[in-house]
Amino acid sequence: MARSTPTRTGPVLLRYASLYWHFLLQRFKVLLEYRVNFIVGAASTIATQAASLLAIWVVMRQVPSLNGWRYDEVLLVYGMITVALGINHMFADNLWTVGRVYIRTGGFDRFLVRPINPLFHLLADRFCQDGIGNFLVGLALIIKASLALQLDWTPLKLLYLLIAVLSGGAIFIGLNLLTCVSCFWIMDSVPVTRLAFEMHEFAKYPLSMYHQSIGVVLTWLVPFGFASFYPASYLLGRDVGILAWLSPLVATVLLVIAYRVWLWGLRHYSGSGS
């Protein structure tokens, strides 16, 4: 399927970047047509996040720390995973809906006859505006936490933060891609994806709060720890050893594995008959 066999990767990347831009423009035209939905979508994610954040605030203003983590330190962890979640939500939300919207209706076949990578086509087909809310909430939390903790943002540390949240987004996308492959067999992959996705809830808080086994799962099995806890620990000057530096590596390995599995699933795709 992904057999465009690039002779030189440069021009191919450039072509895909410009294609993505065209898809995005089309999508924004649709969004502008339904402005209220656009605002409601972004606001709804903010409202849901606000409820959990208020609950944390209410509780933590009455105790000095959560297992040694101060309120603003917890917010940094929470903010980093939420930015990563927002990135995934904006750019890869179609990994959730591929079964229901594309495979069951037969719309997926359209991707297979076009001269571009079907996965790229699937992702570019819909920029999800609801994710903007998550992204902004996460960003606000990181800024709020840095101000309160008086974090010293050197350019290198900013670069570290940028790579960490991008890796976090990639970890979300990798896990969703890996699990969405099940849609080639069971049509609707949402429940399967949700199983892995739900684990990110753990990573909203410092992993040291939980039983050790949960930390191991969140590090090596569904590696959301690399999207929040480990990089946040490093930024806060807490020693987590080599784990502070592994986020990009973990994200890359996960994406490569997920893409391989996706290609394998694609070979087993036989259409829904509709």
Partner: protein, 271 residues
């Protein structure tokens, strides 16, 4: 001959294979729901243990009391999480079902209420495995006093009905704004905090507690769960019931009024 036969076998085989596939799809949903709830339970338990690491009581609640409350609130979350009433209106207008519903020789609201009660009982039954997990792994212990249970059931029913009428009023807004999804998400977010799903409301600071008391969400979850977990003593129950009945009657009247007004505005989108 054999080729045609084999072809048929393949075609009908594929059709038959759809049955287990569909069945599997629904079962997976149930399992997924259980899994996400267990994840939430685990996070809650560890979160509260960490909160109580350096203190014995917060606003008079011990770790044991808070955990009992929080676990029960999670298990009984169908009492407030059921936003079907709102989306029900959205779909009625979208596919034009409303005109059919109104022609039936029975009370439209009463019919919907009966369905929501059945929904609730089914959702609660599905929570039983989670309750088992909470009892076995998180040592959830609940009183066996029949009087407490009776008070709990009555309070829960009163509160659930109140919330049904509240959602009904919000649903009526669909007649005016046609797109109801955003409102139902907002309702979900606000009720998460103010129903007492995330924490016992006695922990809220004063201002928030007043907001919680002015909204109907606590009626359906916080009141019954705080009775069952022993945070609210039985002696308070008669006063609470009185208050709940006032809530219930006012929202019942208001919801009937709202619907009779809204239905004049009806513009069905298709069907």
């Amino acid at each position: 001959m054999t080729l045609a036969l084999r072809r048929r076998a393949r075609v009908y085989g594929a059709i038959a294979a759809m049955v287990p596939k569909t069945f599997l799809a629904y079962t997976i949903w149930v399992w997924m729901n259980w899994f996400t709830q267990i994840v939430a339970l685990i996070i809650f338990v560890f979160f509260w243990r960490a909160v109580y690491a350096n203190t014995n009581a917060i606003n008079g609640l011990t770790l044991g009391q808070t955990l009992t409350y929080v676990l029960l609130a999670r298990l009984l979350s169908p009492l407030v999480e059921n936003t079907n009433t709102i989306s029900f209106f959205g779909s009625l207008l979208r596919d034009g079902q409303l005109s059919m519903e109104l022609l039936r020789p029975l009370d439209f609201q009463a019919g919907a209420y009966a369905q929501r009660i059945a929904n609730l009982l089914m959702d609660l039954a599905l929570q039983l495995p989670i309750a088992l997990v909470a009892i076995v792994f998180f040592r959830l212990r609940v009183t066996l006093d029949p009087l407490v249970w009776l008070s709990f059931v009555v309070t829960a029913l009163l509160g659930f009905s109140t919330l049904f009428f509240f959602d009904w009023i919000i649903g009526c807004l669909a007649f005016y704004i046609t797109e109801i999804w955003g409102l139902s998400v907002l309702r979900y977010g606000v009720s998460n905090l103010f129903s007492g799903l995330l924490l016992p409301l006695v922990l809220l600071p004063d201002g928030f507690r007043q907001v919680a008391e002015a909204l109907p969400f606590a009626q359906a979850l916080y009141l019954p769960v705080s009775i069952l977990s022993g945070i609210t003593p039985l002696s308070d129950v008669p006063r609470l019931w009185l208050q709940q009945v006032v809530w219930l009657v006012s929202l019942l009247v208001l919801s009937r009024f709202a619907f009779s007004r809204a239905v004049r505005k009806v513009t069905v989108q298709g069907g």
